[in-house]
Symmetry: C2
Subunit: 334 residues, 2 copies
């Protein structure tokens, strides 16, 4: 039977023989998987690198995520970081550790999710290498590569007073999704429950998909760079904290408009707190010169001003002091 | 106290603030850690990528390896794969998952080992990014990058009949090391024991260092490429299996001389089986044109001939049929 066997019973080599053919090819690979290392083209003479780790328990639950979801999300979260540099994702390498009892079919599902995520979010990006090991804990570490082209990479540090602050992608939906799962995707004892999770996913598809199978606006990373973005980052720890990172790196203040941030959450389970301080949005937060035309799905949510820190509707955010190491010395809340 | 706290009590951000300053800088980093992604120079317009995962249990034991050993080995095993392409290692990214109870001092030790390994084996190579997560199992995934320069990468597939087969680095010592540890680095119940391991390491330093803190001949990778190596790979699954991979990829036979392979093991605990079929050597196996002068520490161990498979002292290796998926169709042992 094609889907029989576990990682332990099949062995690493036989498992790989089933997994590798499902992985997407990378258009930029000069030498693909199968040698000691892959060789990738860097036509611009430089390349972008980021790595992100997902661990069963803190980062996902198999009761709630399908294997395809896991592969997709592992790809998506890394592709978003490449996009946030204004670069085009070219390739991934994947290190996966799984319990010996893991069905090889689960690993095939993860590979299918990696392929589907690359195809949907960054066509041409593929998997050029990896490693597979046995572990008590299922864990997926993806390293992603990108080509910034002939443009300077878009850093966090280039925002200037007068710039427009804009967001592409969903804010708060992923946080609402995990909140819903912990509240209602559980059994009577409070443990993650597959059936409850599935029922919830049907009812709150946007929130749960944002959490379990996010669609970061990857193409908008390059679009932002081409439109002259002065600074950009991937919103992964809540827009307030990530905006404060951009403000601090750039030596400016970021003034946000709450109505603009909350736009699009009507009729959803997303709260203002999810939008401002939720995690795992994988949206892009960028700043553009005042006269720039906002590209792609970017929407204006604020302006850059002289000063420091983040203000929402003109006010320092009460209670925001807890989440930021910079807080102690930027005078916020005074 | 500087070394107080665990990953769980300190939190990810505070732990990173202690770890990151200990990591080595990369000379080729245009943008280092701290943004969404790093940006690396690729002066030759291409780059080499490899990834390797180490998991507590199957791949190492904290009773036997110090944190510095782990960081060193995680770097070394990846640097060897970059070297095996004829490339010069430039940078690493490191994804680390550890139990919440792990002292931050252990993570600092791993960082120190990464730094020491890079400095000793590939000066200028540094860590340009990473991720840190909590997990029930300690796990280190390193992705390494390298610059092949203006030379073609050295693949497994270029060996030609008449070429000299040569090895740089130790064969069998790492396998002898782990064999000794499992036999005598244990307590009365057979569990890995720190004191027994330390005593054994003093007595069998070469074997245990080869296992716990390997020194692959990284610089010999580039040296081999410059000397015209036609094929090369990192010996990680025993020289016979890895030679069969080279033979198969190149469509040739590899004839090895057992006396040459065993040279240097006199007076050690290394057995012929350790040399031929042991794992984790991280030596380089390469083929050179007959008139090439062998560079660096390379020593001749055989020749390439027309045909298929691997012969030792002119004979197909009995019992070698079990370890290789190619075995079924190359007629070996017939």
């Amino acid at each position: 039977m094609a889907d029989a066997g576990t990682l332990g019973s099949a062995g690493e080599r036989a498992a790989l023989a089933r997994i590798v053919p499902r992985l997407p090819a990378a258009a930029s690979a000069l030498v693909g998987p199968g040698d000691d290392a892959a060789v990738l083209a860097a036509p611009s003479g430089r390349y972008v690198v980021t790595t992100d780790l997902m661990v069963h328990g803190p980062d996902f639950r198999l009761a709630w995520s399908t294997p395809e979801d896991l592969g997709w999300k592992a790809a998506a979260s890394n592709l978003a970081d490449v996009a946030a540099m204004g670069a085009s994702p070219t390739a991934l390498v994947v290190a996966l550790a799984a319990p010996a009892a893991t069905p090889v079919a689960v690993l095939e599902g993860i590979a299918d999710g990696l392929a589907a995520g690359c195809e949907a979010l960054a066509p041409g990006c593929g998997v050029v290498g990896g490693d597979l090991s046995v572990s008590d804990t299922l864990m997926i570490a993806v390293t992603a590569f990108g080509d910034p082209g002939d443009r300077a990479p878009v850093l966090r540090s280039g925002a200037r007073a007068g710039d427009v602050v804009a967001v592409s992608g969903l804010l708060g939906f992923a946080a609402a999704g995990i909140r819903l799962l912990y509240a209602r995707g559980v059994d009577a004892a409070g443990a993650p429950d597959r059936a409850a999770g599935l029922a919830l996913r049907r009812r709150h598809a946007r929130e749960l998909d944002a959490q379990l199978r996010p669609r970061p606006p990857v193409a908008d990373g390059v679009a932002a760079a081409l439109a002259g973005a002065t600074a950009m980052l991937d919103v992964s720890d809540g827009v307030l904290l990530d905006a404060s990172r951009l403000a601090d790196a750039s030596g400016v203040a970021v003034r946000l408009d709450s109505a603009a941030l909350l736009d699009g959450t009507e009729g959803s389970a997303v709260s203002a707190r999810d939008v401002l301080a939720g995690g795992e949005d994988h949206a892009l937060l960028a700043t553009f010169p005042p006269d720039a035309r906002l590209p792609g799905a970017f929407r204006a949510v604020g302006v850059v001003a002289a000063g420091a820190g983040v203000l929402v509707d003109g006010r320092r955010v009460p209670g925001s002091g807890g989440w930021d190491p910079y807080e102690a010395w930027d005078g916020r809340g005074g």
